[in-house]
Each structure stands twice: as structure tokens, then as C-alpha cells.
Symmetry: C4
């Protein structure tokens, strides 16, 4: 039962491209790849950290733009330029003594399949590939980069009654 499972979540892990973005990367002649993030996702991410959840991103991509964005949101663990996501996950399990049943992951493509088989609550955006959808406990009605991340964080936090933000700051504060 999904709602029961969400009640136990204490850790969020997100893929980046296609989950925190819409999967497009803008290539510049200088060799830079620019990504577009969503402010509503950002509000949920910073609030989850503030409420004590462990929030991590794991991406095969690299670049100081991603690093800066995720640091600005105070995410505890930022893994970029990763070729083996399972290895990173095992590191996280050990470092934080995580209970896999309480870990929620959101991915969208083939490279996410193995780690999704290991976590308690595998989830995906509406526009994930078929193989990812097939093993997801929850498929967000929203696409990657279009508030799929906001949707799942808000759902978990509302069930756990940690969503309400007495002193809500501007969601885009300082960016």
C-alpha cells in the first residue's frame, strides 16, 4: 500500500536529467551544457532538508552549475559525474546506516533500473521510459522538470504532516 510506505520515508534520492530537469541539455560552443531547473521543485527540496530528511542527488552529468544549484538548496549529498549509481547507493547506505525500505528514489531511464530495484519506494515522472514505469511504485502525473519532484516530496511530507511551513521564505531565495 503506497500511502503506508510513504509514511516511513526518511531519505530522498533523485536522478537529475529527466527528473529534476525535462531531459534537455543546452549545448554551448564553449563546451558547457546548461540545464533548466524548476523553482517549485526547489522549494520542496529545501523544505525537506530543513525538516530533517536526507536529500541526495546522483547524476552521471557534471558541471559547476548543478553543484551550485544543489548547494544553494542545502542538499546533503551531491554525487555528479557518476558512472555506477549502485556503488554510490551502497556508500550512502553505509554512511547513514539507511534502512532501504525508507528510501525513496526517482529515476527516469535505463541507468536507474538497478538502483530502483534496491530502494524501498522506486518512483518516476510521467515521461519516464516504459521499463522504469514498470518497476515504479508511484508514477507522478507530472513530467521531469515539470514538478514531478515537487509532487512526490509534497505527497510524502503531507502524509507525515511535515509540509506546513510557518515561515515560508521565497522559494527562489538567493538565486
Amino acid at each position: 500500500m503506497l500511502l503506508e510506505e510513504l509514511k516511513g520515508v526518511n531519505t530522498f534520492i533523485f536522478d537529475v536529467d529527466g527528473v529534476l530537469t525535462d531531459g534537455s541539455i543546452l549545448a554551448s560552443d564553449s563546451g558547457e551544457f546548461l540545464r533548466s531547473f524548476n523553482i517549485k521543485d526547489g522549494y520542496a527540496l529545501q523544505l525537506a532538508v530543513k525538516r530533517g530528511y536526507l536529500v541526495c542527488v546522483i547524476s552521471g552529468g557534471k558541471g559547476s552549475a548543478m553543484q551550485k544549484r544543489f548547494e544553494a538548496l542545502s542538499l546533503q549529498e551531491i554525487f555528479l559525474n557518476v558512472s555506477d549509481k549502485v556503488k554510490v547507493y551502497e556508500t550512502l547506505l553505509a554512511k547513514y546506516n539507511l534502512n532501504s525500505k525508507k528510501v525513496l528514489y526517482m529515476g527516469d531511464d535505463v541507468p536507474d533500473l538497478k538502483i530502483m530495484a534496491m530502494v524501498g519506494i522506486p518512483t518516476c515522472p510521467a515521461d519516464a521510459v516504459a521499463d522504469v514505469k514498470a518497476i515504479s511504485t508511484y508514477i507522478s502525473p507530472f513530467d521531469g522538470g515539470k514538478t514531478a519532484v515537487r509532487d512526490i516530496i509534497e505527497k510524502v511530507m503531507r502524509i507525515q504532516q511535515t509540509w506546513f511551513d510557518e515561515n515560508a521564505i521565497a522559494s527562489d531565495s538567493g538565486i
Copy 2:
């Protein structure tokens, strides 16, 4: 009655991300966050100023790009890098001796809730979060960054018969 309320509006206050933009920010490796604005919104904003309305933006975000865009449109009050929107609103109330009943605000997310409870006419784009929609007097059929701002300004100005522009300049003049 909405139409009656719109007849009295003399002040517009807009959130930026998700209202004047579609909520996405494009991150570059240099640490810059680029935002995309809508030319049809811009036409309405400059015309409202020209007709004597007080037009303000309040954003938690920062950056000279926003500053330049809003200055080019001659907006009277531009508050960036704001963490407490209510405080800014109280400053505006005092400075301009505003009647809250005549103030229209458009926001899209949790950090807008408090200020929206204080203004006479709280409004939002079609893709605002549920909590914001729930307290809005008017929900635009258009999304943020997709002419939601144009929609509400034009609606107010048509009712007040200040919309017609005898000497319409190019909406994107000088940009």
C-alpha cells in the same frame, strides 16, 4: 463580485518565478541563473505604468538580468533577493499610503500565501499550486510565463477603460 473588485485596482504586485516566468531557471557553469520573460506580459506591464498604475515585483531571486528587464519596463518598485514578502508589502503600504482593497497580487507557491491573504485581490496563474489556487479570487486560464500576467492586467485595464493605446509602441521596444 470579481468585476466590481477589478474596477478599483490601482496597484499591481507580481511574484517573479512561476508568474512572470514559467518557473524554470537555466543554470550556467558561471553561476548565473537565466530566466525567460514573455513579451506580451511586457507590453501590458509598460502600458500599466504609463497609465498611472503602481506596478511592483517582489522576488526571492536576484540577479542583474531581472533588474534590467524590469527597469526597461519602467516598473516603479523592484524588490529582489527578498526573504520576507510581507515586510516588503508593509513598506509599500506605508510609502504609497495604499488601500489594500485596491491592490492586486499574483503569486504561484507557498511563499506567496501570507501576502495573498493581505491584499484585496489575490490572483494566480493556471499552474499555481493547489494552496494558492484555493485562496485566489481569480485564476488565470494562462500559465506563469505564458501570459498570465498579461491576462490579468488587460482584464483590469479593459474594465477601467484604460487599455486602449492610441500610440502603441513595439511591445519589445529597446530590448
Copy 3:
């Protein structure tokens, strides 16, 4: 009768923002505003010039990016940073001894209304504002920046049997 009118077209004039673009401008901190153009529009524009049509753009915006894009497509007349489109139109009428009945214009917003009342065939994208749609002879099924320009050029050239391109080059050649 629209098809009859299109048979006589020998001049195309296009607004830029909202017609050759989707109306969004990406603001950078350096003060630059970036616009996004459509390659399928570009193919039609360069072919129209090659076939002997007079092709012009008139924009209130400015910037060397637009200038370079339109020069690469060999457009004959490029007017940027324009505040009064009617004056530019009168200059074109005189310079080329144009017959207004043979001039097709595509615009999308209030600043286009006056010039649209002067040309023989006023047209607009699907997402033009209501006032512009109301005076348009033809409303493209496509939005601005989403091949509305391609649509009208191709329609005119097919009727005049000038569309076929024996030696079609890459539509995006040299960009």
C-alpha cells in the same frame, strides 16, 4: 477570398517577438536578451528570398543576434529597435514602390494593429492576442516560433508554384 489574395503576394513583412519567436526572451546577467528561432521558418525565409520575394522584418527589439540570424537568411530589409512600425512601412512602400494589396504581414500584438490595417493581407499566429486575430485575413494553426511563419510562406509559394526546391540545401546551412 483568401486563396485569390495569396496569389498576388510579392512581399512578406514579419514582426519578430511572438511571430518568429514564441514570445519569450531569455535574460542574462550581462544584459543580453536571447531569442529562439525555428529552423523550419528559416528554410522558408531563405527560399522566399531566393525565389525573388521581398522579405522584411520589423522589430521593436534590438541586438546583434537578431541581425546576424536575419542576415544569414539573406533577408533584404531588417529593421530593429523600431518604435513606429507604420513609419518603417511607409519607407518600404516608397523605396520599393510597393502595392499594398500584395503585401502580407504577420503580427501578434497591439503594436502591430496599425500596420496590419494598412497591408493587403494581415495574418497572425494561432496565439496572437484577440484584437490581432479579429483583423486577420488568415490565422495560422501554428503558434509564433512554432512554424507559423513557415506555414504562411509555404502556403503562398505553393499557390504561386514557387515552393519546389530542385536543389534544396540544408535548411540550417551555415548556422
Copy 4:
């Protein structure tokens, strides 16, 4: 019979603008044109190369951004700034001793028509122009830049049972 034809494919050739992108190019004042690529397309492209398919791109466009993106995906043949695609195709036929029946091409506009008439399996995105659709063996349900390329590569590789990726790396590795 489409499925039979796909069983024999050993070579993929892709147009860039409107196929690997959504057809928009972002113009900057420095004269650069930025293109947006899709990470899900990228995953399929690199996997096809890894499995031994010949994967080529032919574009009329130019720029080091494209060059870098396609090199990062290890594509074997990258032809940019091309005015005559047929000539490039003939070079490829000779260099690799290709059987045209086994060549799949995806294009979207008039400049692709001639080469599409020469390959065994001409295909296109959902938003290709009508003339291209008319001669395509397969029309993807996805638009250019919105996983049309992923769709056709995955379809071919699934039929040939080369799709499964035991050691899937991050689709966006190293970018």
C-alpha cells in the same frame, strides 16, 4: 513490412535540427547558436555505437557545441556545415561499403527528401513536414528533440535483441 526491414538495420543516419533537437536555435549576441539535446536520445545513441552499429549525423549547421556533444557520445561519423547531404551519403556508402537497404535515416524537412529516397528505411519525427511524412516508412509518435531518435533506435535494437544493457551507465555520463 516494417518489422522485417528493421531487423536488417546496421546503420543509423540522423539529421540534427528538428530531429535531434526540437528545431529551435537560441541566438546569442556573440553570434553563437545554441541547440538543446535530449538525454534519452543520448543514451540510445551511445548504446547503439557500443553494440556495433554505425551511427552518423549530417547537419547543415555548424559549431563546436554539436561537435563536442556527438563526440562525447562516440558517434563514428559527424558531418557538420553540409550543403549537399546526398554527396555525404555517397561518401559513406563507399567508405563503409554500405547496403542501402540496411540504412535507416531520420529527417524532418525538405533538405532531407533526396537522401531519404536513397536509404532503405526513411523515418521521421511526428512533427516533420508533410512532404517528409509522405515518404517515410515509419513516423515516430514523438517530436524531434522529444525522444523521436530514442524511439527509433530502441525499436530497432529491441527487434534485434541488442537493447539490453547489462552494465548501463548513467545516460548523461560525463556531460
